[in-house]
């Protein structure tokens, strides 16, 4: 007699299992399926092409009605099983149908996670799981309108692309800084974001959804930062959770999913579980490949073959959005026991990253060109030995095993018409002819004569190869000092490139300039952050994790891990109120040391990090702001007492110092910036050893620059004389801006001036009035975004609160 097999759920996993079972043991079971969805088995993966209009439902059906008839399978459509009685061996549906079983398969799949925020149950809030969801989305899209997709993972992005195809105005909200962070590394995540945005879909990362607003239906989505995005529909695609409630109620062991062994049996040996609802080897799965593997195992076991067991293997992900090529598989994190091979081809929009461990491939990320994905994935799954062709591995199967390409030979083989410099349209022939005819010897010669590599500089490497191929060993590159071991580019190349190409993020920059590491190092990241910040005021968002701790928490770290706090005392002036506030804070927080600094202000040392926001709050109350004693930015403006009190004073040096400090504070500069204003040539404020100094004289103001009194001692050079205070401020603003635009990270003004020449600086910031004005205006513009007291933001607005509190305190727990 045939045994009775009952299946709960009619998704992709049991569909496959039944096919296998009917092949292997066609007559052994009477099969009955209960499906909550009122339809046959279809290819859930293809919902995305369905939504975008590339496929119809008929095209994605796996088993049509005829299949069930042919195999004598009973399918109850639209019948949700609500009860499993293990003693009686029956299941019962909400519609009242009861069926007996000898063997039972639970394949209830997953449930989309709904974030429990206000408004989550409003009409118009959808998930993305089944045909009903897609039909609801397509209906909403008929009215065009606006859609907000919460979740920038695989499903969210596919939903967004589909809705956009349907004519909606779509915004994707993603909690993490980069899209699909579970499958992609940061670089490919950024490339993906650009590609999604290029289709007209808005992407907001680090977006924390606070509520969905609306009276009866969805009207808008509100973010934690107060932003409101109007919307007619909201798609929640933030993840799935195994649908294991039914099994749990029936007393079957459930952890995250329904726990099964390698034969797919649950804690009840007559009951199998498979698909997304099942947990095997402490893992749950959300992609079909492993689920089909489970299906094979369950079918074999039911058919009596007990040797077939489940073994988890690596999974690969592809995003199904037409025109975006993206592939990831395995483990792609970094590590000291791993090597990475990165290939970036900015011109073709390619990014490939392979992760190797012990001479084996363990992870792959491909962006832009994924044709080799299957080949890499195969090597990965087979745990293949790749030592033999490691050097050419990243070029794919086409090169594998072949000889490594010699870049010199490759350049020599280029035809004369091949374009070398895209910015200036210079081809190879022009460069080689110029090298021969004009006897060019250096990259700068080539730049001057042909313009090649004179703009963004990304072709510098190619031009150098051309020089080398022409001159042989006679070519000696005037060693550009690379920024750090992550790149071969020097500081100036990087800056030129940022401006020429309008690059606005660190990952984009690393991609475009073909960084050899995936996330840079402690040397290059702060520099890149500064270059982007100073180039794109208001536009670039500061990356605090790329800053040294002092600039991240706005205090100076001390040798014992405590901090020191130095408030501004504008121009070195203070008052009873400020001094009282300082005294109070010192007592209240038991601050162990108070000192007058060499910069005419007061330093409180030895403050515990947790206390910083409270200390600042008290200082803010007395009107004091951060003195930026930690910043690669404006530090102090020292002054002397000037005409206010001094019998020799010629101008209001204290007043000018205060004006300058109020004008310049908050600005970020390549290295620290210190000023001083003295009221007469006796120079009590020591203005002639500062980055910028002013010596007041009867006829006006002598402006000095390029002094130092630290590691090097150097007197200033005179920039020139101006007659009025207003002019002095304009010239100093222009000088600061030129330094901001040209100085290399950590290069003080005196070193910058030595490198570019005092005369050119003088011309641009003093003599050429138009240039001077333009520089000044750029500085004023950038100050609009930088003059916000970082202490106040942290003391009262809760910015970066995570910095000042431990994530956990186990001191009490452990004592119990």
């Amino acid at each position: 007699m045939k045994k009775k097999l009952v299946v709960i759920g009619n998704g992709m996993a049991p569909g496959r299992a039944l096919e296998r079972l009917l092949e292997a043991a066609p007559d052994s079971f009477d099969v009955t399926i209960f499906n909550a969805e009122p339809r046959v088995n279809y290819d859930r993966i293809m919902l995305s092409p369905l939504l975008s209009g590339e496929k119809s439902f008929e095209q994605i059906v796996i088993h049509g009605d005829g299949w069930y008839v042919k195999h004598g399978v009973t399918l109850y459509k639209g019948c949700t099983v609500t009860d499993i009685d293990r003693a009686k061996k029956t299941v019962t549906s909400a519609t009242g149908i009861t069926a007996d079983y000898d063997k039972l398969i639970i394949a209830t799949g997953s449930q989309p996670i709904i974030i429990p925020i206000p408004g989550a149950n409003l009409a118009g809030v959808l998930t993305y799981r089944d045909l009903d969801d897609v039909q609801a989305m397509m209906l909403a899209a008929k009215a065009r309108g606006r859609a907000v997709v919460i979740g920038g993972g695989l499903l969210g992005l596919e939903a967004a692309a589909g809705l956009k195809e349907q004519g909606m105005d779509v915004t994707v909200l993603h909690l993490m800084p980069t899209l699909m962070e579970r499958q992609l590394d940061t670089t490919s995540g950024h490339l993906l974001q650009r590609a999604i945005e290029a289709r007209g879909i808005k992407v907001i990362t680090k977006a924390n959804t606070k509520a969905i607003l609306g009276a009866k239906r969805v009207e808008a989505v509100e973010l934690a930062d107060g932003t409101r995005l109007p919307a007619e529909i909201v798609i929640m695609a933030v993840g799935i959770r195994p649908n294991s409630g039914l099994a749990k109620t029936a007393g079957i062991t459930v952890n995250r999913g329904i726990v099964v062994d390698a034969t797919m049996r649950t804690s009840d040996p007559d009951i199998f579980a498979l698909g997304e609802c099942a947990e095997v080897e402490a893992q749950v799965f959300g992609l079909v490949a492993p689920l089909y593997e489970m299906a094979n195992v369950a079918a074999a076991q039911l058919a009596g073959d007990e040797t077939v067991k489940f073994k988890a293997s690596a999974t690969a992900t592809k995003l199904k959005v037409t025109g975006i090529n993206l592939f990831s598989a395995g483990d792609f994190a970094e590590g000291s026991d791993r090597e990475e091979i990165v290939l970036r081809d900015a011109a073709r929009g390619l990014y490939k990253r392979l992760i190797l461990k012990d001479g084996k491939l363990i992870g792959v990320v491909l962006y832009g060109e994924t044709g080799d994905g299957a080949w890499f994935f195969d090597l990965l799954k087979k745990n293949a030995e790749i030592k033999e062709f490691r050097d050419t591995l990243i070029f794919g199967p086409g090169y594998a095993g072949g000889a490594a390409q010699d870049p010199m030979a490759a350049v020599a083989a280029l035809p004369d018409e091949a374009e070398i410099c895209g910015c200036n349209g210079v081809c190879k022939g022009r460069i080689t002819t110029a090298i021969d005819a004009l006897g060019l010897k250096t990259i700068d010669d080539v730049r001057a004569q042909t313009k090649a590599s004179a703009s963004c500089g990304s072709c510098t490497g190619l031009v150098e190869l051309l020089l080398k191929s022409k001159l042989g060993d006679a070519y000696n590159p005037a060693a550009v000092q690379p920024m750090c071991p992550c790149t071969k580019h020097g500081h100036d190349d990087v800056r030129r490139f940022i401006v020429a190409k309008g690059v606005k993020s660190i990952p984009d920059l690393m991609q475009a300039l073909e960084w050899s590491t995936s996330s840079g190092c402690a040397k290059c990241r702060p520099a890149l952050n500064y270059y982007l910040l100073s180039t794109w005021p208001g536009d670039y968002k500061d990356d605090s994790q790329s800053r040294f701790i002092n600039e991240r928490v706005h205090a100076n770290i001390q040798k014992d891990g405590t901090y020191s706090v130095v408030p501004r005392m504008w121009g070195g002036m203070t008052s009873a109120k400020e001094l009282r506030a300082i005294a109070d804070v010192v007592e209240k927080f038991n601050i162990p040391a108070v000192k007058c600094t060499g910069g005419q202000r007061i330093d409180m040392l030895g403050i515990k990090k947790e206390d910083l926001p409270a200390v600042w709050a008290d200082l803010n109350k007395a009107g004091m702001v951060s003195g930026a004693a930690y910043a690669k930015g404006l530090r102090t403006v020292k002054t002397c007492v000037g005409t206010d009190w001094c019998r020799f004073g010629t101008q209001d040096s204290t007043g000018l110092g205060i004006k300058l400090e109020k004008f310049l504070w908050g600005s970020w500069t390549p290295a620290k910036l210190k000023l001083a204003v003295s009221g007469c040539p006796r120079n009590c404020a020591e203005a002639t050893c500062k980055d910028i100094g002013v010596i007041c004289v009867d006829s006006g103001y002598d402006i000095h620059f390029g002094g130092a009194a630290g590691l090097d001692i150097k007197g200033t050079d005179v920039l020139g004389h101006v007659d009025t205070e207003a002019e002095a401020i304009e010239v100093i603003g222009a000088l600061t801006q030129l330094y901001r635009e040209q100085g290399r990270y950590l290069e003080r003004i005196y070193k910058w001036a030595k490198r570019v020449g005092h005369e050119t600086i003088r011309k641009q910031t003093l003599d050429d009035k138009e240039r001077r004005k333009a520089l000044y205006e750029r500085f004023v513009y950038s100050q609009k975004f930088s003059q916000k007291d970082p202490w106040a933001e942290r003391a009262s607005e809760g910015i970066d609160a995570h910095e000042f509190a431990p994530i956990a305190d186990l001191r009490l727990e452990a004592a119990e």
């Binding site: 590590g335 000291s336 996330s519 994530i807």
Partner: protein, 118 residues
């Protein structure tokens, strides 16, 4: 599973640590720094540089390393060993991330604060 679970301590959500950042766990024997890399992995080390006790939690995180804020030693987050020419070792604590929560291995806490006690 249950037999093991008592030795794992839930210290908070991975998302509560900034990417390429760190946060502290205070313990009776000193602080542990829990790091999060750009690839969303977490590591826990004693918050004390092998050079001169610098607070590693305050450093810049890059790849699977952190650069100490005091004198720029680079410490490997996985092994706790100093990289490059520097020689030194900081205690590591095992952890795992499950459902977005960070679980610290309680038995590993014993290794913390050893240097000071010795």
């Amino acid at each position: 599973m249950t037999a093991m679970s008592s030795s794992w301590i839930d210290i908070g959500a991975l998302a509560a640590i900034p990417i390429q950042g760190a946060r502290l766990v205070k313990t009776p024997k000193g602080c542990i720094a829990v790091f999060r890399t750009s690839h969303d992995e977490a590591y826990a080390l004693e918050d004390r540089c092998p050079h001169k006790d610098g607070p590693l939690s305050q450093g810049i995180v890059h790849g699977r390393s952190v650069t100490c804020p005091l004198h720029n030693w680079v410490i490997n987050l996985e092994t706790g060993a100093a990289e490059g020419a520097d020689k030194g070792q900081v205690a590591t604590v095992r952890l795992k991330v499950e459902n977005g929560r960070i679980l610290l291995d309680a038995s590993g806490l014993a290794a913390i604060g050893k240097k000071a006690e010795a």
